[in-house]
Symmetry: C2
Subunit: 290 residues, 2 copies
Amino acid sequence: MNFFAQYALYERMINEALAALPWGEDRLCRCMTYSLLDGGKRLRPVLALAAAALTGGSPAAIVVPACGLELIHTYSLIHDDLPCMDDDDTRRGRPASHIVFGEAAAVLTGDALLTLGLELVARPPAGIPLERSLQAVALVTAAAGWRGMVGGQMLDTDEPPARPDLAWLEHMQSLKTGALFVAAAELGAVLAGAAAGELEALRAYARALGAAFQIKDDILDVEGESAVLGKPAGSDAKGAKPTYPAVLGLKAAKAALGRKTEAAAAALAGWGEKGEFLRALAAWAAEREK
Amino acid sequence: MNFFAQYALYERMINEALAALPWGEDRLCRCMTYSLLDGGKRLRPVLALAAAALTGGSPAAIVVPACGLELIHTYSLIHDDLPCMDDDDTRRGRPASHIVFGEAAAVLTGDALLTLGLELVARPPAGIPLERSLQAVALVTAAAGWRGMVGGQMLDTDEPPARPDLAWLEHMQSLKTGALFVAAAELGAVLAGAAAGELEALRAYARALGAAFQIKDDILDVEGESAVLGKPAGSDAKGAKPTYPAVLGLKAAKAALGRKTEAAAAALAGWGEKGEFLRALAAWAAEREK
């Protein structure tokens, strides 16, 4: 199966599992589904499913805990978009949660998605030893929390340096976006019972993929078109956000993107042909137009 | 040991475990410890330790997961105090998190405390079967999330009815504050390996305790003194919040408090003398002055 067909298959499994959660008709559920079921890329759960497949596990068996990652990612977007944070009005081509439902509801929607996301991560899949689910909770909470995603957002939002350099930017991004990519690969591999060496290689891959993804995001914000992106292009420069193009210049940012994509592929070398999907995923992350 | 000595012992165990978490010197850690290590009552983890003791477990063994409840409670206070929510400037006698650190930091501090809180709940205590820790995560996430605490806060903050009646108020409070009380008792009992009947009795106890605690909070807001409360008295009436005194009148609210305290004691009947600490806890919840 080629890359896009495989991606679409994983995406359908994920979207079906997300839609099958026991949503109600109340306002909180409407807020949660507005942001969650809006057609994001599902990159983090896809990465988890692919990591499980690569290390001998069954993607279908772990789709629920993998979906937990998407809830956690979505919560982080909702809170990042708040007026007191990045103050973004548009997300994935539609008005942001706080624009549609108000700030209080957006804060609570994020809280609810984070809590439910971790509940899903902790739900033990049939036939998989329970200690693997506890490991999954430990690694996802570590990646999402104070020393991971929230810590990175704190660096980025609360008191960014006046003149961020590359070291600061890489550190911030490794926390803010990188940690959850790594956790996604780890979650799939851990639930599949991967060997320590496989886990280490997948971590290296996901670190490089996460960096490539972020650099490309920053480049698209400079070069992309708002209509394709689903959010206003140029918004980083407007907010004077520290980005790879801002710190390195556009040309050097593109070179860095190439190096990260190569590093991602190199981490997969041990798998040979079997690593093709994840290799193509890294190439796609670097070439995509939105 | 009398009630207050036992409470102080539990409280010291909890405060020591909270202080022993690997706090750093960074700004996010300062925000987290400002709100967490400020001398709250530690009621939820105390309840968990007492439930474990009552059902044959070791309180010392489960102090870390019990502390997770305090982090989750603290996150909920920080988010509730935000300008877009209850807009409270004072908490536990000190400026609220968003006043000291700003709104963005307060949102992220809450996010970090929730994430770390669930990480602690999931940390398997030595000698306790792993499936009990997964059960603990399941019950705490259910109590804290969309169909529990966050759902209750959504009802209370986002679109409260113009004229709330008692049924609405009891429903909202059972979610907003009751669910985490019940989860605390369950967490202690589940980790201790309690029998189903014990678990059911402790749930009934915690439901009544949580209701009594909330009714007393509402009464104190009418009758208490700001200096003793550590927050402005009368703040509920100022914000036209739906409370038991507002809905029932003060006299009927006090009668309801008495009934809830009796219900809590009744749920403990099967334990006889052994239930004394939790019986005294419910009596204290009804009689306290802050």
